[in-house]
Point group: C2
Chain length 190, copies 2
């Protein structure tokens, strides 16, 4: 998606540790013109795919998932993060390791809202090591829901996780794919 | 907003401790038809008010703020919750007490994204004791931004906080106002 690539080139900041800061338009301050375009693009990519539910993870996936859900006319479900895996109630739980904070956390979704009849599109802001995504896929598997695909705003291709998951048969559509990111600049996958 | 009241009556569950569970359509699973209507209604209410930024708080305010931002064509900023007030960087911080979890947490927003020139609309899912809202207002004050108003999905009027803040001169628009909530049912303010 050209608009996303342009925005990354114009406003993204590369920080130590392969971090791309996009807080000015994507995951803290949100450019709603771009957000609307993202929602329409995801709807176009999954037109006719029979998606019944969008699943994302709090917090920075929610706005993107909401934009896609509004464009596609399907409900949006967000999984919650907990500090402990000690979670009450009738829920599916999976464990995710965060490299950013170097800790494990539990990702939780109510059994009432993720059903075996669901055809699920996963949505998130970043795909880097794929840990959060594998957690969401695990939740779908626990619910016997069908995974239709994954829509990501920005994929860090150099981490390899996205291509690994594609090789495993997961459909992944990333609106911007970063092949490399150095002090010489950002190169997108063409 | 009639659609919101109908949805609450049909799907809301009253739990002990004056909790209204609306996870099936508002704050875990999100009905995007309703969400789109909410966004358009907030846009209608604040048409011509010169709002330049919507400010919300993670996580359950984000989808509503995104819908409003998409309808109004203004950016959405979300404040983040931290366990400690020990937050690095160039940020505004305020302390909020959560009655649900009986703990204080820090609410943080980057100074880069909340400006003295901003005319801010606050958006959140619930207004009960008003603590989160007062925190967001404090962040606006710290930034010398102008508070235009507050749009809330569901106000628990019986808590008194919304009316107290109105008496202090804050404009608050709630899409559903619950006057009382007992085993005999829910009564909306007319």
């Amino acid at each position: 998606m050209k608009l996303m690539e342009q925005k990354i080139l114009r406003e993204g900041q590369i920080l130590p540790g392969d971090i791309l800061k996009v807080g000015s338009f994507l995951n803290q301050n949100i450019d709603t013109d771009l957000l609307g375009e993202m929602g329409r693009e995801i709807a176009r990519l999954y037109d006719g795919a029979g998606v019944t539910k969008i699943l994302t993870i709090e917090a920075s996936g929610i706005a993107i998932a909401a934009a896609a859900g509004l464009s596609m006319g399907v409900p949006v479900l967000f999984a919650k993060k907990h500090r402990t895996s000690n979670v009450d109630g009738d829920v599916y739980v999976t464990k995710v390791h965060s490299f950013t904070h170097n800790e494990d956390y539990a990702v939780v979704v109510s059994r009432d809202y993720l059903l075996p009849s669901d055809r699920v599109l996963l949505v998130d802001d970043f795909l880097a090591n794929g840990n959060a995504l594998r957690g969401l896929i695990d939740l779908c598997n626990q619910a016997d829901a069908e995974l239709v695909g994954v829509a990501i705003a920005i994929e860090k291709c150099f981490s390899g996780a996205g291509d690994q998951m594609r090789a495993e048969g997961v459909r992944i559509d990333s609106l911007a794919q970063i092949e490399s990111m150095t002090e010489n600049g950002i190169v997108f996958r063409s």
